[in-house]
């Protein structure tokens, strides 16, 4: 006999128990610690913090463990946690010019004040599997030098002095907050950058790549890419001045884009900007390219109909938590909608069949 699908509750409990068991895996293998993930899976932790919009390496590591290494699931855990946190205020804008750089490169100048610092990059590694890692070899200590004193100026400032690059307009108005107000289009640049900073890395990469291949090509050079720690300061009303409340690691990318001028602007270089939590340079460069593509309107360029130029398309589809939720929801039961479609299709077929029969008879 048919029994209505009962026992959903028990099925869920059992599924959760099985999931926990699978998460742990073979118990003869030592369990992974949060500190191990935080220290040894750092780039995953950084991505989870960036797209989760919450700077907390321990929580990000916990989320990665809980999500069994599924980073979008881990980002989701962080986002859901983040929304429950009270908000004490907004920090001062961080000064990336005062960043303690681990890495700082420019593709536009061979040498420059502050120097080229390669830092801990995969860039020139040969992508050969290192079997020594499988045999848990100790790592020799990397050579060190004393930290260079003083700030590291931005490359775009040099170009700025000559008037060769557009001015980055100063704007002291409070930026909108994507996490507290519904997204509204058209979105200004501050809101677009905010959305891109937590956008899915893969989606942003794909869009940025499309601009390089000709869909709104904007000839980007990496003027500068820097990775390092900046201090975060917050105004304390009771004190009447700002104090340092902590430090975050950031990746900043400024692109210098060729620009032949438009109806409204003279020929000069233009800017694309990317700023992301952690060591996340693929994302930061992608963000800068997409940012530049989205600026076509303010620079008086033509809308060539490229996906990366379409702010509404980009902003409404860049969030992987929204996207994955809606995509995966089609796993939920749709008996009712499907049933109504079944009836409709049967009805249409039935009538089409009747018509054909009639035509045949005529």
């Amino acid at each position: 006999m048919y029994v209505a699908v009962k026992g959903g509750e028990r099925a869920i409990e059992n599924a959760h128990a099985w999931l926990a068991e699978e998460r742990r895996g073979d118990k003869s293998i030592a369990e992974l610690g949060i500190a191990q993930i935080r220290e040894q899976m750092k780039l995953a932790v950084d991505r989870v913090m960036a797209e989760g919009s919450l700077y907390d390496p321990d929580l990000a590591a916990l989320a990665i463990k809980q999500a069994r290494g599924d980073l979008i699931e881990a980002i989701f855990l962080i986002r859901a946690y983040r929304t429950t946190l009270p908000r004490f205020g907004a920090s001062q804008p961080v000064d990336t010019g005062a960043m303690a750089c681990d890495r700082r490169i420019s593709a536009t100048f061979k040498d420059l004040p502050g120097g080229q610092v390669l830092g801990p990059t995969f860039d020139y590694t040969h992508r050969l599997l290192d079997f020594k890692l499988a045999a848990d070899g100790e790592v020799p200590k990397a050579p060190q030098r004393d930290a260079a004193a003083g700030d590291v100026p931005h490359v775009t400032d040099f170009l700025n002095r000559e008037g060769l690059i557009e001015e980055a307009p100063q704007d002291d108005t409070d930026p909108p907050d994507l996490t507290r107000e519904p997204l509204e289009v058209p979105a200004d640049r501050a809101l677009r950058l905010q959305a891109l900073a937590r956008a899915d890395e893969g989606f942003t990469l794909g869009l940025a790549y499309s601009t390089q291949r000709g869909y709104a090509r904007n000839h980007a050079f990496v003027g500068e890419l820097r990775i390092g720690a900046v201090s975060v300061e917050m105004d304390i009303p009771e004190l009447g001045f700002a104090i340092e409340i902590g430090e975050v690691a950031l990746t900043e990318c400024e692109t210098v884009n060729q620009f032949k001028g438009s109806k409204t602007e003279p020929p000069q270089f233009t800017r694309g900007y990317g700023l992301v939590f952690g060591q996340t340079e693929r994302k930061a460069i992608s963000m800068a390219l997409v940012d530049r593509a989205l600026r076509w309107e303010e620079l008086g360029e033509d809308d060539v109909g490229a996906p990366a130029q379409d702010a509404e398309f980009v902003l409404y589809h860049a969030d992987n938590i929204q996207a994955t939720g809606f995509l995966e929801h089609i796993k939920l039961p749709h008996y009712v909608d499907f049933q109504s479609e079944l009836e409709l299709v049967r009805k249409l077929r039935c009538e089409a069949g009747a018509d054909q029969a009639q035509e045949a008879a005529e």
Binding site: M1, Y2, A4, V5, K6, G7, G8, E9, A11, I12, F76, R79, A80, R82, T83, T84, P86, T179, R180, E181, P182, L183, E184, V185, P186, E312, Y316, I321, Q322, T324, G325, F326, L327, E328, H329, L332, P333, H334, Y335, V336, D337, Q339, S340, E341, L342, E343, L344, K347, L348, E351
Partner: protein, 287 residues
């Protein structure tokens, strides 16, 4: 889960949602933007409905959750459990005992009363979205009451198929002004939207919209003089309770094409069976 606030959301978020609900009630059928929060369940799985429920529930409420009309489908169970844990509300599966009912894709068969609130989970709140993907454009269309495109689409269906080929999420006009998406309920349920005694609230989390129908609101399914709206269902009685007037799910019962039709509203069906109504396949082996 004691570290979380009553009904999970913080008070400021609830206030923001409550303000949106009031504006929604004041402008029936208009989609109020709201700053939807990330919830501990995925977007697309009822986060809009969950946020609306969280903003309206009180400890005195009795909460019912249905998905596809059923109380015991997994996502309904999951949402019900969430509110049992975070709001400590009593829950029920009996439609008539519930003060707040959260639903996905159905309106209960049993008429609702003035003491009840129906909260819909909405995936795509914009009825014009599939005709015009841009929010900036559809917003203008609503502002200008420019709904010609929707009528053209429906009429194209008629000229091609002889029928309007929309069977669920069938658009309605509210109080002669806003065209509204009733969420993916089958069009069988559309006539219940208007003149309902209960308050109807619609929450779309991912799309960040809340809208509402106050009780006894005039709701008209879009149609044409020569092709009036028709609420349809499978032309069978329920195999378990014999109901002739309820919306039915089709269930495949063997691998030889055998199937049966049963009420999608599980509470309605169980009550009828308890009252002695028996369908053709009730109480004996169907296969």
């Amino acid at each position: 889960m004691t570290q979380y606030n009553f009904a999970y959301l913080d008070e400021q978020t609830k206030r923001m949602i409550r303000r949106a609900i009031l504006k929604g009630l004041a402008i029936p059928g208009y989609q109020v933007p709201f700053a939807s929060r990330e919830m501990p369940m995925p977007y697309g799985w009822g986060t809009g409905g969950v946020q609306v429920s969280a903003a309206i529930l009180t400890p005195e409420d009795r909460f019912k959750v249905i998905d596809q009309g059923a109380d015991d489908t997994t996502n309904a169970v999951s949402i019900r459990t969430f509110f049992e844990r975070t709001a400590g509300v009593a829950t029920t599966t009996a439609t008539s005992d519930a003060s707040v009912i959260q639903t996905r894709h159905r309106i209960p068969e049993e008429p609702l009363t003035e003491k009840q609130i129906l909260v819909y989970q909405v995936p795509i709140p914009e009825p014009l979205r599939f005709l015009e993907p841009r929010e900036s454009e559809t917003r203008k269309m609503h502002a200008l009451e420019e709904y010609g495109l929707m009528h053209v689409k429906l009429y194209e269906d008629i000229s091609r198929h002889g029928h309007i080929a929309t069977s669920y999420a069938y658009p309605v006009t509210v109080e002669g002004r806003f065209v509204m998406d009733p969420s993916p309920i089958p069009k069988f349920d559309n006539p219940k939207l208007g003149d309902m005694a209960a308050i109807q609230l619609f929450g779309a989390g991912r799309e960040q919209r809340i809208y509402a129908l106050p009780p006894y609101t005039k709701v008209v399914s879009l149609d044409f003089d020569d092709h009036p709206f028709e609420a349809s269902k499978a032309d069978h009685p329920c195999g378990l309770c014999g109901a002739e007037e309820s919306y039915l799910d089709e269930v495949i019962i063997d691998d030889a094409g055998g199937r049966m039709f049963v009420c999608s509203d599980t509470d309605y069906c169980e009550r009828r069976q308890a009252a002695g109504h028996v369908g053709k396949l009730g109480g004996k082996d169907a296969a």
